[in-house]
Symmetry: C2
Subunit: 305 residues, 2 copies
């Protein structure tokens, strides 16, 4: 049976999700609150496919709907990509919970809001979760699945299975946590990076080189735990015995929230291309991420050490 | 003129550096304190090249020397890869500083020791620095160049130029700092990662997936600063204004040194392959890192956003 997926909100993330589900063979029903956005979305999806090298023929499975009700009709999964505002999410989830069939799962792409903050009072709160992608999900496979205290574990099981079926990589959290996993890790890196730049130890370019020609290379092939497992003859336990005290000392001396200052923001911004180039650079990034994904998956086993 | 490089210590790092310099056309003079290690090193270098896909013909430029004096003869750069022990480094640098011609630069691969800790008292302290690679440097290009307070800025200029000439990516620090840049960033990631695992929020596998199928993908193509520059319409300044407060809150609630416990080490180790597999897995990692480096450099401009 063909799966039917509803995409709510057709910005960059919503369009990327549309490609993920459509190329996996799902029927996709897309809705955006803005009429003019809906009118242009198919042309934008063709452009998304052109950049990533995905076959636009998959877009034949996409229907643009005129109402939220029409989009949710027959959907087993709703991927919502609305604005990151609590009032909007509360209204939207109340509406969707009233409309959607009982077995429909409602998932938000939100990076900033936990599910309990907008779903805690709803009758259907057991079927609501966060499915947070990395932008954009059609070229970066990870999806963080974060339940609220009310989310049914069977809903989490279904979410995990669906994500694998559409070739994403689900990461399941056991309970709700601010920032989920990915942004918690990104936050500590940004804090220490900004501090090193602000102190003048390294330039923003040097900081970026350290990751993209160094740690990032290893972390693309295996995560931080698998990485340290190969950095001592006796594996991860040996590594943590040898280097744990040094790493603990470095972590203790690292910067935290105070590193996010307007001064360092200006310092870093001064080294970056004009913000007018952000859309073109983002397209280039997506093209390169798609090529990297093909490189990694073209060689079976490469991404699973 | 062909450059002459001395490699001191022929463990994994020393052998990888040998390949870096030899394939770039340098004459390499290699010495190891252990006679039996010296005897087997060419065969090991052939194996290193086999795994990474480097042409072993470059090894014709490598001479294995019987003494430290012979290795340093005529060398403009010494890359030292001895044990990470302060007493050994102090003895070795005193010897090398006495032997080496005045213009020779002495660089250590040390990740744990800052240059002032073993070079501060030597007559030639102005020509001594840290050139810290990511293991192994022949397949991961970044090299951290960290001066002591005594290192001559012209020595740093020469170090940077040489590293670019042999196709590595130098990252220059302006002053000495514990952990340099790379391990400071790795330390904060490990601390928060171990804490999330210990709290049971995510499994070690899930943690690794979050990076290697998520953040790591982006960080291979561009560093953390270039990444956030594309995560808001107005670039990095816009990003830090929108999301800085959230990231600061996450960084403030992140774990630090206390996360490195024996309990979590056991927990992670239990999910990893048997430590006996570390050598085979490391070879596989190096093969994949080499393939990744070829993928990235085969497309000019890809690694320089």
């Amino acid at each position: 049976m063909t799966r039917t997926i509803a995409i709510i909100g057709s910005g960059l993330i919503g369009r990327a999700w549309t490609v993920v589900f459509a190329r996996a063979g799902c029927t996709v029903r897309l809705w955006d609150a803005a009429t003019d956005v809906r009118a242009g979305v198919i042309a934008q999806l063709v452009e998304t496919c052109r950049v990533s090298g995905d076959d636009p023929a998959a877009l034949a499975r996409v229907t643009v709907c005129d109402t939220l009700e029409a989009a949710l009709e027959g959907a087993e999964w709703v991927q919502e990509n609305g604005p990151e505002r609590l009032d909007i999410k509360r209204d939207l989830y109340a509406r969707m919970d009233a409309i959607a069939a009982p077995a429909t799962i409602l998932a938000t792409s939100s990076s900033a809001l936990i599910a309990s903050s907008f779903a805690g009072e709803l009758a259907g709160r057991a079927r609501i979760l966060v499915a947070h992608p990395v932008n954009p999900p059609h070229v970066v496979p990870v999806v963080e699945l974060c339940p609220s205290p009310d989310t049914d574990p069977q809903v989490m099981d279904r979410a995990e299975a669906l994500m694998r079926e559409v070739a994403q990589v689900p990461v399941r959290m056991t309970r709700e946590i601010d920032g989920f996993v990915l942004n918690r890790l990104q936050a500590v890196v940004l804090a220490e990076a900004l501090s090193l730049i602000e102190q003048g130890i390294v330039t923003p370019e040097g900081l970026d080189d350290t990751i993209c020609h160094g740690l990032g290379r290893r972390w693309t092939l295996m995560g931080p735990m698998a990485t340290i497992n190969l950095n001592a003859p006796g594996g991860v336990a040996d590594y943590l015995e040898r280097y744990g005290p040094t790493m603990a000392r470095l972590a203790d001396s690292a910067a935290r929230g105070e590193a996010f200052t307007p001064e360092v923001a200006r310092l870093v911004a001064a080294t970056m291309p004009d913000p007018a180039q952000v859309p073109a650079l983002s397209q280039d990034r997506d093209r390169r991420l798609a090529a990297l994904a093909r490189h990694l998956s073209d060689k079976p086993g490469l991404t699973d050490p």
